[in-house]
């Protein structure tokens, strides 16, 4: 009975926090509700409470999701809304009737398009799309290879039509192989086996997704496999309610969708901060010594080696690594220098904080050093007390307490998909190196006599280029991820960026910055629209790595040049303040724009009369304008 009381209290705490508009507390109590209660009922409770709350009081990011399916998928709604809420999302749903997906996609006037979704999930079971491949008996007439090719073609056609009608992100399930095979143990030797046929269908789908913009595969087969097909499916509900996915699996599927949705709206984590003792290796280095820690071919050292490989894999994907450890720096240095079992090297970490400060202070220093917001940081520690300390001092940081046994660390790190993104750009893969370049530049800044001296010695070259196939993913990614130097924080999918480019009256350009320390890659995007007498900037953003180097002045000069070519008399711009874009707020003011009364109380409008001469490129940089 005591458990029930505390559940009741948690419900009240959750509702009270919602009413008070306290998102941090609501998230915290919502999370404990979902972990203590049977998940589905708690999800329903949270969903109803969130539905009743006033959205404007909570700073949730709204995302409109349409679910199209070949079966009844609506039992996922509560889990998707509740788990989305814990990720800071207000998920608004459109549910098509099962089997209505063709009509919804093909018909231009369908309710799907009227809903104006941000993301559309196309959840098809193989059994429904290619029943002959899944049947227990051998179908009479069928050439199953042809069936699969035809289904692949249909998916390609649906994707193409969808892309013509909508710029939303489309997520298509791939297909899990049938559980029971017609030929039993001989399936693997049959030609073509049922497993081969499904895998061929998945290959078709993979190609469709690779060749289009903003269409992605949800690895449903992988998800079913991770859970185990026998636990994933509920045959009773499959036959009775056309709802084949088991109750325990629904939240897993919702979590998988949320990985995509988080990436879509810029909530992908960028930095992993790690503890050392009993996290990267077993034992305490201060006690066991650099060679005495558990790390190497034997358990438990083998599990720590495996975990280090997973961390290294994240770094290779572009995640910035940092260390926050309570230790003597000399011991830690010695481990990196002399323990041959270490997979991670010291220079894999962009910031290392070893000392006796509170962990939250180290994490804050790391965030400040890297110039990234705390909500892009994941903090990992085996010690629950340290985890609590960081979670309370820095509620925006995602804290990941490790399970007691090291063999479960990899799962704990990778399962939530915090670092998943919708594309991996060259810049991602080089990110750690790019931060090193930035550190070198900052050193140069410190050594320089004046700012102008610094700019000159930096030898910057700024390249403005039209968006093309090689840069569209990076351009969209920057709009999704950039929070600080971003005047309007409008997010674009790849398809939406291309849509903007298609209008000849739009200026859509990427900004690449090179300096004496190397190529920083594409670090900025701007979008402007030209009308008869004006050019209006609606997007201007810059990666935090290159803030404070007058690149933004060059961007405005580029717009100014464009405006002059178009014969415009004025440049307009607006600032939409967010919790994070303080660095961008004085952009227009600093460059001599005049403030304007705005229709909205929340945003500030600015304009610059070009009769006064426009904006010049800073004289210390070389400017290259690629024309395509």
């Amino acid at each position: 009975m005591r458990a029930d009381t505390s559940l009741g209290e948690m419900r009240h705490a959750f509702q009270a926090a919602l009413e008070a508009g306290d998102l941090v507390e609501a998230t915290r109590s919502g999370r404990s509700l979902l972990s203590k209660n049977p998940l589905l009922a708690a999800a329903s409770f949270i969903r109803h409470a969130v539905d009743k709350s006033s959205p404007e009081r909570l700073s949730l990011t709204s995302v409109r999701v349409a679910l199209l399916s070949s079966f009844s998928i609506e039992f996922i709604h509560d889990a998707l809304i509740a788990l989305g809420f814990l990720d800071g999302l207000r998920v608004e749903l459109y549910q098509a009737g099962f089997g209505q997906f063709r009509q919804d996609i093909l018909n231009r006037d369908s309710a799907l398009y009227a809903f104006a979704p941000d993301a559309v999930v196309l959840a098809l079971e193989g059994k429904d799309l290619v029943p002959d491949v899944y049947r227990h008996d051998i179908p009479d007439a069928a050439d199953l290879n042809a069936t699969v090719t035809e289904a692949g073609r249909e998916l390609a056609n649906l994707a193409e039509v969808f892309r013509e009608r909508s710029a939303a992100t489309l997520l298509i399930h791939n297909f899990a192989p049938p559980i029971w095979r017609r030929l039993g143990i001989l399936d693997g030797e049959a030609g073509p086996s049922q497993a081969d046929l499904v895998s061929a269908l998945n290959t078709h789908l993979g190609r469709v997704c690779r060749e289009s913009r903003g269409i992605h595969t949800v690895d449903y087969a992988g998800l079913v496999q991770r859970t185990g097909a026998l636990s994933w499916y509920d045959d009773r509900m499959a036959f009775y309610a056309r709802a084949p996915i088991a109750r325990g699996a629904l939240p897993e599927l919702a979590r998988e969708y949320l990985k995509f949705l988080r990436a879509l709206i810029g909530k992908t984590k960028k930095c992993l901060v790690l503890d050392l003792d009993n996290t990267l290796w077993g034992g305490v280095v201060g006690e066991e010594g650099p060679q005495g820690i558990a790390l190497g071919p034997e358990y438990p050292g083998s599990a720590f080696v495996d975990f280090q490989r997973a961390v290294r894999g994240l770094r290779q994907r572009g995640v910035i690594l940092a260390i926050a450890s309570k230790n003597n720096p000399a011991d830690v240095d010695e481990v990196f220098a002399s323990n041959n079992h270490m997979i991670l090297r010291r220079d894999d970490f962009s910031v290392v904080r070893v000392g006796w400060n509170a962990k939250s202070q180290s994490v804050s220093e790391i965030a400040a050093h890297l110039n990234i917001a705390p909500d892009h940081i994941v903090y990992v520690d085996d010690n629950p007390a340290e985890c609590d300390e960081v979670a309370h001092a820095l509620p925006a940081v995602t804290v990941l307490p490790l399970p007691p046994q090291p063999e479960h660390f990899v799962r704990a790190l990778l399962e939530p998909g915090y670092f998943d993104s919708l594309s991996v750009s060259t810049e991602d893969l080089r990110r750690a190196e790019l931060y090193e370049q930035r550190d070198q530049a900052e050193e140069l800044r410190a050594q320089s006599d004046s700012l102008e001296d610094f700019y000159r010695r930096l030898e910057m070259e700024v390249t403005f280029a039209l968006v093309d196939n090689s840069s569209v993913a990076r351009a969209a990614q920057l709009t999704q991820k950039t929070n600080q130097f971003n005047v309007t924080t409008i997010r674009y999918s790849e398809a939406e960026v291309l849509e903007r480019c298609a209008d000849p009256d739009n200026l859509v350009k990427t900004v690449r910055v090179r300096d004496r320390f190397g190529d920083n890659g594409i670090v900025g995007v701007m979008m402007a629209h030209a009308s008869e007498s004006e050019v209006e900037i609606d997007t201007l953003l810059l990666s935090c790595r290159v803030i404070g180097r007058t690149v933004e002045t060059a961007m405005l000069a580029h717009v100014s040049e464009y405006a002059a070519q178009r014969g415009a008399r004025r440049i307009r711009g607006r600032i939409v303040p967010t919790a994070k874009n303080a660095p961008a707020r004085d952009l227009y003011e600093r460059h001599g724009f005049q403030s304007h009364p705005s229709d909205s109380t929340e945003e500030a409008a600015w304009s610059l009369d070009l009769a006064t001469g426009g904006i010049q490129y800073p004289k210390w940089m070389k400017v290259v304008a690629e024309t395509g």
Partner: protein, 74 residues
């Protein structure tokens, strides 16, 4: 058990658990539609760690029916 059932019904059907009694039935509660019914059964299964047959699902059309089916199974 009664308390737990009321709480789950409250969560899923968006009702005040205190207000649930012998008269609470699918016929009388607007939010208790066929989709919510499946949802409710799945939540009960998850909490009580049991599995209903389709016949049981079709029989649990009120708070008292649910208690009766649960008592038979537990």
């Amino acid at each position: 058990m009664e308390q737990k059932v009321k709480e789950i019904m409250g969560d899923v059907l968006d009702l005040d658990p205190q207000a649930i009694d012998g008269h609470t039935a699918m016929d009388t509660i607007e939010s208790w539609d066929s989709q919510a019914h499946i949802n409710l059964c799945l939540c009960l299964e998850q909490d009580f760690q049991i599995a209903f047959t389709v016949a049981e699902i079709e029989a649990m059309l009120s708070y008292s029916d649910i208690l009766r089916v649960l008592r038979e199974k537990l």
